[in-house]
Subunit: 439 residues, 2 copies
């Protein structure tokens, strides 16, 4: 009798690991219901990754595109937020194990842990070529870029100056294209405006792609448009150029060594180690194979979504690792779990609706692929800006980002050109520039 | 004959070390003249220090109050900016020696290097109790504060929870008062809004002052107003309480050990080591004694201003280490050097005009002391906000900060609550919280 009373009063408990687009959408769909929800994330904030390249290129501040998870979920009485790192999942015991020794029991588990950059077995490359997945990495890239210009201004060695003014972006996907375009625009403007001893033509931005074209997930016409635009703003694109090695001095690619001061990695992602936690053999890209209802194959009550899940689309191909996929899956799963846990309804099949794929290339240039039709150029760029401002979490951030974009568009000035003192202490080298020593 | 021709074409060269309020004002006054100006700073940006406490308490982003020095001075063709660290000055050889081995010759040298926090011989305290002089320190304090709340939410040990929710601010000057008020307001709001397992009454903010009253440079009525206001928002003020020791666990003060998670140092500044560079015996607070024309006593062609200089006011007392003093001295010295170098005019005597002294205490509360009259409360707070927005370098930052303030005033939300991933990795402890382990 006692256990029956208990089970009658005990509310079901859904644990969501990861508060990215997918995890947050899932939690919100479960908000203010008779279900207990615990959201676990290593970070205290949700990061709007599509605009992270603008933090890396000194156009926005980290806080402009970050929102505390507690703030987003604060209005839901039934959601509890835990800032902690997950190290494993004990599926039979229905328990998530945390790094600090804590553990959390669940009735249903949603794995929405996203992805990290894939260095294809060369993890040591990461220190020289950060990716763009966290505020820390974006700030790191910003420091490298800005410091390189400061050093170049003071250098009297032409070869050193050339290397300092060279950036290499690895990977011709949307992130690589955005970064290459933004670095070229930032560099040319900053040099022309603020540096007395440098000339914009001394700037080199290389975009390196192992395959035969950039933006390979887009139609060829859009790839060609992007290539032409990038070439026009001074980006040197190297196709069919696989990376062989990365050091502190530069990149070895396609048989040539390219000395560079700033190297950015954007060449492919892999799922975070959720498969390892479960002891399950992962599918392509480290992703967890899931059934049409997003349940992880071979488990009960465990679901995966977004970059963590290897879900299959209508065309039998895996769904891409995109924010819109994660968000749609999160909303779907949240609603389905609610109906299942409260009313015993089965979880239906998830169907992805493609809202269009986009990449921004530069000032006034973006591309959109809606499947049956495409747009490119200034109109696409305006649409890109509107969509991204709209997708930001709240009115304050929308307003702040809009103002900074309008300001930047009219003045070309970059607002967030702050080099952290610790970065300077660590990396300013002993150049031999004897400023005015002979004057 | 040759040397005469040379001296006829060679333009005089003024070197300014430090691009704070004083150095920048001096450089701008020398802008677009027939004088070569070199501005040297360790940082690439000028930091609006009066608002740094708002970065530390997650209200603003570093970029909102930082401006690249190159951007501020970019419009002056005759000004050259060098990002480098000065290690000494060879006065007889009229040369500034840089850390990287470079050296810069000068005809006139202006030392505007500001001040650092004075730990009164206990430099090891700095790691536990950062001051508020740089973006790095402000971010450090922000991380400590926000992480402590996250840890407290997960702690099941009441003593640990109490320590995590305790902050100690050392020094009852304007910085200490601003920080104590801001931490109390931030903490209470965040707990009430976002943390399920904490109660605002668990928060403790201690303001420790060695002397008999806070804000001792202000009239007593304003000190009393500030004390009452702070007590009202939950700040516990301890007067006549000298600090004896600071460890990672807390502060030993007035014979008592106060365990705390976040310790902020605001107890007095000392000039940066310009006196050491010159091999001159410094005056009070490490400042360089200067003549009425701001020339450093015992040197020729070397000037000091702002926190670096020990200038004497009309009342024979040293001028305070305030932004307005530095700025007025910078403008004065820039104009005087121009008249001196181009037209041979002697450098006159500097006179400080007191524009009023202010401190902000909390939402709707600030104080202003104009010498013969004072204001306090909401009106003073509004004036404080207007003055500080006006003092920001450009229209974009004024707009961005205004919007964030208006937003925060209406919602009490803090926009910049981002904990950096590296900070988390370094400091999240292994608490034993077994979340829901028994559910």
């Amino acid at each position: 009798m006692k256990s029956e009373t208990e089970s009658a009063t005990k509310r079901p408990h859904v644990v969501i690991v990861g508060a990215g687009f997918g995890g947050l959408a899932c939690a919100q769909a479960l908000g203010n219901t008779e279900i207990d929800v615990t959201v676990i994330d290593r970070r205290n904030h949700n990061l709007f990754q599509p605009l992270l390249y603008q933090v890396a290129t000194a156009a926005l501040s980290p806080a402009d595109i970050s929102e505390p998870i507690r703030r987003t979920l604060g209005r839901y009485e039934n959601i509890h937020v835990v800032m902690a790192e997950v190290v494993s999942v004990d599926a039979p015991a229905r328990t998530v194990i945390l790094k600090d020794g804590g553990s959390i029991l669940f009735d249903r588990l949603v794995l929405a842990t996203g992805s990290t950059y894939n260095y294809f077995g060369h993890q040591d490359w990461q220190q020289h070529a950060p990716g763009l997945k966290s505020v820390h990495e974006a700030r790191d890239i910003r420091h490298r870029l800005l410091l390189a210009f400061e050093k170049a201004e003071r250098s009297t060695d032409e070869a050193e100056k050339r290397n300092l003014l060279t950036s290499v972006v690895i990977g011709g996907g949307p992130t690589g294209v955005e970064m290459a375009g933004a670095i070229s625009e930032l560099g040319r403007f900053m040099i022309a405006q603020d540096f007395r001893r440098l000339h914009p033509d001394q700037l080199t931005v290389l975009l390196i792609e192992a395959g035969p074209r950039i933006l390979s997930t887009f139609p060829e016409t859009l790839s060609r448009y992007a290539s032409d635009y990038l070439a026009g703003i001074g980006v040197d694109i190297r196709l069919n150029t696989p990376v062989e090695d990365i050091t502190a001095e530069g990149v070895q690619a396609g048989g040539t060594f390219l000395p560079a001061s700033c190297i950015v990695w954007g060449a492919g992602v892999k799922a975070s180690p959720a498969a390892e936690w479960l002891g399950i053999e992962p599918g392509a890209g480290g992703r967890l194979p899931v059934a049409p209802d997003l349940s992880v194959t071979g488990t009960a009550g465990i679901y995966a979504l977004g970059d963590t899940a290897l879900a299959v689309g209508k065309d039998r191909n895996p769904l891409p690792a995109l924010a819109q996929v994660a968000k749609q899956q999160g909303i779907f799963l949240g609603r389905a779990l609610k109906a299942n846990l409260l009313f015993g309804k089965p979880i239906p099949t998830f169907h992805f609706r493609n809202r269009g794929n986009t990449a921004v290339i530069g000032r006034n240039a973006a591309i959109f692929d809606f499947g049956s039709w495409q747009i490119k150029g200034r109109l696409a760029w305006l649409l890109w800006a509107l969509v991204h401002v709209y997708l930001l979490v709240n009115f304050e951030k929308r307003l702040l980002v809009s103002i900074q974009w309008i300001w930047r568009y009219s003045t070309r000035q970059r607002g967030a050109r702050v080099i952290d003192e610790t970065a300077v202490a660590a990396t300013v080298p002993a150049t031999e520039a004897k400023d005015r020593a002979a004057s």
